[in-house]
Amino acid sequence: MAAKKYVCKVCGYAHEGNEAPSVCPLCKAGASEFEVVNAPKKKGFDTNSDLYAIIYSAFVVVIVAFLLAGVSSVLKPTQDANIALDKKKQILASLNIKNELDVAAKYDEVIKKELVINAEGVEVADKGGFDVKNEDVNENNLPLYIAEVNNEKKYIIPMTGNGLWGGIWGYIALNADCNTIYGVYFSHASETPGLGAEIAADKFQNQFTKDKDGNKVVKMVYNENGEVALEVKKGKGDANYHIDAVSGATLTCNGVDDMFKRKLAPYYNYLKNNAPVVEAPVAQEENVEPAADAAQVNVEE
């Protein structure tokens, strides 16, 4: 076995042999002050050279980039199908259809139309609403789903907004009178578990259709003036429009509140035009200042 090389840590004296010297001949330090120096590895190239480091990092980056790009493009179709299916599941959840095994079939059965409308209340296209991307939604491009549950017409409005940490989104299903809420669904990207994330829980979402004891209650979206009166606030409010916020999640709930105000307002004209005339309290008084409302909507968007 080749002799090891020892170096005194105190003075730097170098010694070769199988053991460290008991006393350093230069500074008289004990054997414990010596440490083994490993001979540099005999390899074809020096792994500490700059060139090696540059080539190595380039190599690693290229491999990883190709790997990720490859995996991503191979899996993309499957992922897109999953995302579309998940969207359908969420839309069905707003109609209180949950735990459905065959989501796609149920969706085709329940959802009758996927419209695109504009803020003036005119139907722009009678299909393709499902494919409108969130970032493309504006007052001339508003997706709206029309469903039929138990032979009753329901309108489903998709919403997106900002929570505390990331995006929040949801669907709100309205009854045929175009104002009372039939069901809701909310979800979020990264709200705090136990706090903001509770907007996705049944306890919060049930408030839109039930009271604490499970009895049916009716909440409305628009008030007589055509403004979005539905609100999420801590404490008490007008029972027709008030939803109690989650304790400790004020910012997330403000985000939901803001999402209602911004995203539901542009749908008002369309819903008004389609509301049955029988709904006297809503349908009659809403003509008071629709122009002003539309202007306000434009500003907010």
Partner: protein, 209 residues
């Protein structure tokens, strides 16, 4: 060397108690605070970290002799980030529900100090198999603390476990109240501190003189 020789067993066992990444090495505290307000995300996070740290340990251990010392941290980071992205892509395609659950935590895994700590301290010096065991050991040690903390936080904070109500309605009617503090981050600090306290009281060798 056997698959579970004494040294390998040590690599697996010591991170569970004596060298626990959270309570002794004080690594991964950030995520231990963030995901422990409920039991379910804590379990999911613990499981994903275990898998990722074991896989990253093996990969780094395999290429440890080729890595230039000066850029080793960057290489480690690239491996971890690539691995996490890969796992997340695969989950999105084949287990979409799980990936939705994990969405927040995937990002947190990359920044988890336990990963970098183990890659740097263990995988760079050891062979793949002990590195794998070390990864599993540290992941489980981390998950264990997360689950304990999450158990107390969810139980006292919401009266439920894994979303199921445990404390009966009659308790609330009799005046019992959920402890809102438990859902806040400081509660995680307090609980982790209690675990550290308990562990050090039990094991004298961990106490500083």
């Amino acid at each position: 060397m056997g698959l579970l020789s004494k040294k390998n067993k040590e690599a697996l066992n010591t991170p569970l108690f004596k060298e626990n990444p959270v309570t002794v090495q004080v690594l991964g505290i950030c995520s231990a605070l963030a995901v422990t307000s409920k039991l379910e995300p804590a379990i999911v996070m613990g499981l994903s970290v275990t898998i990722i740290v074991a896989m990253a340990n093996v990969i780094i251990s395999l290429i440890r002799n080729t890595i230039p010392m000066r850029i080793r941290i960057i290489v480690q980071l690239v491996v971890v980030a690539a691995l996490v992205t890969l796992v997340s892509e695969v989950l999105k395609a084949f287990a979409y529900d799980v990936s939705v659950q994990l969405s927040v935590y995937i990002g947190l895994i990359i920044t988890n100090c336990i990963l970098m700590g183990r890659l740097e301290a263990f995988a760079m010096q050891n062979k793949p198999w002990p590195s794998f065991l070390d990864g599993i050991g540290n992941g489980v040690g981390y998950a264990m603390i997360l689950v304990i903390v999450a158990f107390f936080r969810e139980f006292f904070g919401t009266g439920a476990l894994l979303g199921f109500q445990i404390i009966p309605e009659s308790f609330y009617e009799a005046g019992y109240m959920n402890n809102g503090l438990m859902l806040m981050t400081p509660a995680a600090f307090i609980l982790i501190a209690c675990i550290v306290w308990f562990q050090r009281a039990k094991d004298k060798s961990l106490q500083e003189k």
